[in-house]
Each structure stands twice: as structure tokens, then as C-alpha cells.
Amino acid sequence: MNDQPPLSLHVPEPAVRPGGKPDFSSVKIPNAGSVPRPEIDVDPESIRDLAFSIIRVLNRDGEAVGPWAGLLSDEALLEGLRHMMTLRTFDARMLMAQRQGKTSFYMQHMGEEAVSCAFRKALEPGDMNFPTYRQAGLLIAAGYSLVDMMNEIFSNERDPLKGRQMPVLYSSKALGFFTISGNLATQFIQAVGWAMASAIKRDTRIAAGWIGDGATAESDFHAALVFASTYKAPVVLNIVNNQWAISTFQGIARGGSGTFAARGLGFGIPALRVDGNDYLAVYAVARWAIERARRNFGPTLVEYVTYRVGAHSTSDDPAAYRPKTESDAWPLGDPVIRLKNHLIRRGVWSEARHKQAEAEILDGVVTAQKEAEGHGTLHAGGKPSVRDMFEGVYAEMPPHLRRQRQQAGV
């Protein structure tokens, strides 16, 4: 053995670090319209290419092209644009609120708005999302109250979660939005379980699990794929690949595999990659996968290729680990601008109307914020009671907690 050259450890590195010139030349972007659209009962093996390509609908000229195009009316697209703009404005205001000390923490969606906003529109009432902290678009596109979102963020007296949860960890069963966990990935297998329950009860509702590129390394991701594959659960398993997991580039979680979608191939689960910054493409793929699930053909794994433009959270500063201008170099553009340009091209939108919509939306968000702030912010005004801290641990408070509540004098 002594004649063997020594081993060495391979540690993947991103192409560029701060100081370097952003470089996405390794990200191969197929032309819009170039990826075929299979039947929903397709044999997964026969579409394995789709795990290595990117389904795109909007081309550089803002046209919707190819087999995945043509599913949404202009009206629906205008509504989608409004959802994304609302989310972006909401984020901007809440980031500011956090900086002003009105809450402890915030997480934004900049660049990823299309993913959750478009996906939501492909669901039916009664379906259930198991989201991470970066899919508030699911709520906004479902018409959830901005004031209630803010009440949660401010942990104020109207907080639907009574101050118990950190900002942005919303819950809305009514709108098909499962209570968000602070622990990464746990929701992925739960989504599969929920979907199995729907199948056990011979229901028609389906589930959607959500996970980030980084969190696919967690155990729950594997459990979800195993269970979904075995029981053919009616679930759409969504991976939002925004290139970063806090400071860690996606190559650390992805390792030697070409894509995250490829993970599905080892389970016989059809796996699709889609341009996450293309509202039309996201919607088209979501609809395909959701229909597959609803028609009892089983799970689909979808990777959304996108980019986290902002910091991971208000506790993070990406300048420490990636070039400042990296997001400008991101080859898939901005989802809001791309949809806007498409609508302008279709003649149903204009720069002027966009400006006006921006103003209206800001107005709406500001009004909501005023209302929410009227119910308190984290350190000022109305807040949930100390009693609320003791309630809800169990359906009925057991004696030991009653004693503790008494000790606390509440």
C-alpha cells in the first residue's frame, strides 16, 4: 500500500468569493420553450432528462413560448404580478420595521417571489402546504390578511399565535398553510403523512412540501422521499434552490449530483427542474405535479432554480461570503420584472400602470401596517398576555402547569 499516493479531502467551493467577479457560467440555461411537457402518467424513468434541464416559459423578449405556456389568462397573470409586488413591498416594510426595533427578526423573499405566489394559484381549496419560512407568497396569493401577518411579526395583542412564535412562522389551516417550524426540513415528511392521510380517507385533497436547497441534506428529506415513493402519496415535494443556505453555497448540499431534482431519480419519483423566476413556468409545472398527485399517480419532486437576492435573514450579512453584485449577474433575472415585461408585451400592462400599482400596493401595505402597529409591536403597545404563555401546551392544562401559572401570578 505504501506505493499509493495519499488521499485528500475534497471540499467544494463556490466559483467566486467576495472580491471576485460573479460567475454563473456553469449554470446551463436552456432556451425558454425547449423542454417538452410529458403526460402526467409518464414513466419517471423516461423523463429523467427533466431533472437536469430547466423548464422555462418566458423568453428574453418577454414572450411565453413552448409546451408549458398558455395556461393562464391575462387576468390571472395580472393578479399574480400584484401578489409578487405585494410580497416584495411587504418584505421591504417589514425589514424596515425590524430595523426600527418593532420586531426581533425578519426573513425576506427578494428574487423568489414567483415560486410561492405562482404555486399557490395551482392549488385547490382544501389542499395543504407544509412551507418553510420563505414561502409567504402562499399566504398572500391565498388572500390572507396582511394585518394578521404583521400582527404575528410584531407579536402583538392580535397575534394569531399569541406571541409564541418567532416572526414569519405563520400558521393558517383555513388557507392551507401548515404551522412553520423553526427546525429545518421536519415539515417535508409531515407533508407526505398528510397526503397519505388524504389517500387513506379517500379524499381528493393533496399536500405540498417545501424545503430549501440546504435543508435537503436533513434526514426528513430522505424519510419524505422514501415514504412518498413507497405509498405513492399524493404530494408535491418542492425544493427551492436559491443557491445559498445562509453562507453555504448549494454545492455543499448538492455534492457530486448534477442537480437537486436528481435526488428524486433514485426513488422512481418524477423530478422536474423549473425556472423559479418565471411565474408562468412555476405555475405550469406546479399544475402538472398537482394534477399528477390528485389523479393518484403519486409524488413529484420539483426543483425551483432561483436566487436569494437578499440576506438570509436580518441576522445575516451576505457581503461576508459572496460578491456583492452576484445577484445582478444571476442569469434568470427578476421574477417581477419578467412578468411585468411579459404583460406589457401582451399589451395589458404598462410602465405607468406598474408605477401606479406600486404606489397602490405600498399604500395598502402601509395602511395594514398602521393597523397592526395599533395593536402593538414587539416592545411597545399591546402584547399577548403572560397567561397565553401557559395556555395551549395541552388541550387541557394539566395540574403541574396550573401550579406554575399560579406561581407566575397570572
Binding site: 395543504m128 407544509f130 394569531p160 399565535l161 399569541k162 409564541r164 412564535q165 412562522l169 400558521s171 393558517s172 389551516k173 401548515f178 404551522t179 417550524s181 423553526g182 427546525n183 421536519t186 415528511i189 409531515q190 407533508a191 407526505v192 403523512g193 398528510w194 397526503a195 397519505m196 392521510a197 388524504s198 389517500a199 387513506i200 380517507k201 399536500a207 434526514s219 426528513d220 430522505h222 424519510a223 419524505a224 422514501v226 415514504f227 413507497t230 395551549g392 401546551v393 395541552y394 388541550a395 394539566p398 395540574p399 403541574h400
Partner: protein, 339 residues
């Protein structure tokens, strides 16, 4: 009344609930066609079909994680972890998820879930088929933890657990499956068919969570026990002649503190027995509670007799197990004041 083993009683509890409520589903490793390595689910798949009782991949995380999703949907899953020693891969889902869904969502989502798992040693199972991890559950707000000691209670507690709106960890002392084992491993075991508590009522009944029961009244000493150790304590009392009052806790959380305090106030002395390792075992909590609540009545230190702080060994199993001799010695020391 028919006599049943503890396994039969547990199966009966699931059967009754599956019959009454088609939201009750049962799954786990080998629990479907085969009926579980301890045969607790035997016949349930044949009776209720494959979508209500089925085999799973070997992933405790997957079993509990999927069950949480189902519970959130509105089912009442009652899942099996093959041995408590194998619950660790599911621990995150239990602690971070099942236990907190209700709280974190302010009741928007809930988790009516039972996780059954055989616990305890005495079957030559070595360090990975013998553990008693109850204290790892009692520390977690949002969980309930139950340990039956006989067929009748097992069925009634299991029914109450399945009906409970919150997650319940249901620990089954496997050494009691066939009979009330008192720690005398070298003697033949009395089967449940010869024991009064092997009489299991038919149909639906509940043993409410949070109510202890006195198994032996006595004046000299209070013994806090659960599961297998109830019988070890009974044997120790009989063999030492110490007039011990033996309380079978049945549910560790919620805990019947009132029953404990009433007894210790009466006897002035307390011995706590469990099979789990000593340090940070549930006995520590019991000891703390007893002295917090009965300080002025206590005539001797509260004493713990437990498994040692080592992994559960294979060959030295009976040296590890806190048997009647060791427990009895503690009784005598505590009543004599000879510490």
C-alpha cells in the same frame, strides 16, 4: 371476565378504537401483515385493511413524521416503534414537532398521536433492547407519558391515549407482556391468566391519564413505581416484611402528585424505583417533588433505587436490574433510618 396477556390487552385496545373510529390508523415496522415482532397488531390488517394497518420502511423518523402529518390532517395515528431504544431517530419529530404543534400554531393544528414502544430490560436484550427512556419524554413540554403495569390498565390507558387530543408516549414494559414479573428471573413466571389484573373488560373503557393507583396499602414507607418495578416493589415488601405503600404511577405526565403527597405525608418515608439509569432519571423529578411537597413530614431522605449509570449490559443484566433484593435493602434502610 376473559383473561388476557398484556400484548393481547394492548391489541384489544387498538381493535376497539379502530372499530369505533375510522380515523384510527396503525403502522410501524413489521406491524402490518406480520402483526409486529411482539405481535401486538396481529390480525388488525386482516380485519381493517391495508390502508388502516400497514408495514413501514425502517425509519422511525418517517413513522412519527408521517404520523404527525396524518394527525394534523385529522386522523388519530397509533404507531409502534419496535423498541424504545430505536426511538432516537424520531426524537426530533417527537420533541420539536408533535409536542409543539398545538402551542406554536395556537391550536390551529393539533397532534392527537400515540407512539407505542416496548421498554425495559430483562429479556437479555443488551444495551439496545432494554432501555427505559421515560425521562427523555417527561422533560418535554407538550408530551404525555404513560407506563402501564398490567393488561387491564394497558388497554384502558391505551384507549385514553388514543382518544387524547395531544401526543402520548405509551411505554410498554416488555418484560410484563406475559406476566407480572417481580425480578426473580430464576423463578417461573406467573402468567396473566393467573392474575387478577389479567382480567380485561370487553369493549371500550378508559383509564384516565394522570391517576395513580395504590397497589398495596402500607404505613411504613411510600414506594413510587411504574411498570415492571411495581411487582419488584411488591416482592420486596413481601420479602422484607416492610409495610410499604406501593403506588403505581401509571402516567408520569400528567402526574398524580396529590396521591404521592398524601401517601408520603402519611408514611414520612419514600423510596423511588425505576429501571432507567439514575442520573437525571424520572426518579430525580419524583424525589425533588416529594421533598418540595413533603419536606416537613419526611423522616428520612427520599431514596432512589434504579438501574446503574451504565449502558444495559447483556451478561450482567441481573446485576444491572434493580431487583427485589436491592429494592428490599433500600426499604429496610429507609425504615430503619440507616442510610
Amino acid at each position: 371476565m376473559p383473561r388476557k396477556t398484556m400484548v393481547e390487552a394492548i391489541r384489544d385496545g387498538m381493535d376497539v378504537m379502530m372499530e369505533r373510529d375510522d380515523n384510527v390508523v396503525i403502522f410501524g415496522e413489521d406491524v402490518g401483515y406480520f402483526g409486529g415482532v411482539f405481535r401486538a397488531t396481529q390480525g388488525l390488517q386482516a380485519k381493517y385493511g391495508k390502508s388502516r394497518c400497514f408495514d413501514t420502511p425502517i425509519s422511525e423518523l418517517g413513522i412519527v413524521g408521517a404520523a404527525i402529518g396524518m394527525a394534523a390532517y385529522g386522523l388519530r395515528p397509533c404507531v409502534e416503534v419496535q423498541f424504545a431504544d430505536y426511538m432516537y431517530p424520531a426524537y426530533d419529530q417527537i420533541v420539536s414537532e408533535a409536542a409543539r404543534l398545538r402551542y406554536r400554531s395556537n391550536g390551529d393544528f393539533t397532534c392527537p398521536l400515540v407512539v407505542r414502544m416496548p421498554t425495559g430490560g430483562g429479556i437479555s436484550g443488551g444495551q439496545t433492547h432494554s432501555q427505559s427512556p421515560e425521562a427523555l419524554f417527561t422533560h418535554v413540554s407538550g408530551l404525555k407519558t404513560v407506563v402501564p403495569s398490567n393488561p387491564k390498565d394497558a388497554k384502558g390507558l391505551l384507549i385514553a391515549s388514543i382518544e387524547d387530543p395531544d401526543p402520548v408516549i405509551f411505554l410498554e414494559p416488555k418484560r410484563l407482556y406475559n406476566g407480572p414479573f417481580d425480578g426473580h428471573h430464576d423463578r417461573p413466571i406467573t402468567p396473566w391468566s393467573k392474575h387478577e389484573l389479567g382480567e380485561v373488560p370487553e369493549g371500550h373503557y378508559r383509564v384516565p391519564l394522570g391517576q395513580a393507583v395504590i397497589r398495596r396499602e402500607g404505613a411504613a414507607l411510600t414506594v413510587l413505581a411504574y411498570g415492571t418495578m411495581v411487582y419488584v416493589a411488591m416482592a420486596a415488601a413481601a420479602e422484607t416484611g416492610v409495610d410499604a405503600e406501593i403506588i403505581d404511577l401509571r402516567s408520569l405526565l400528567p402526574l398524580d402528585l396529590e396521591a404521592i403527597v398524601a401517601s408520603v405525608r402519611k408514611t414520612g418515608r419514600c423510596v423511588i424505583v425505576h429501571e432507567a439509569t439514575l442520573t437525571s432519571g424520572f426518579g430525580a423529578e419524583l424525589s425533588a417533588l416529594v421533598q418540595e411537597n413533603c419536606f416537613f413530614e419526611l423522616e428520612a431522605p427520599v431514596r432512589r433505587v434504579t438501574g446503574w449509570d451504565t449502558p444495559y449490559p447483556h451478561a450482567q443484566e441481573w446485576d444491572y436490574f434493580p431487583g427485589p433484593e436491592r429494592v428490599g435493602r433500600a426499604f429496610l434502610e429507609v425504615v430503619s433510618g440507616d442510610q
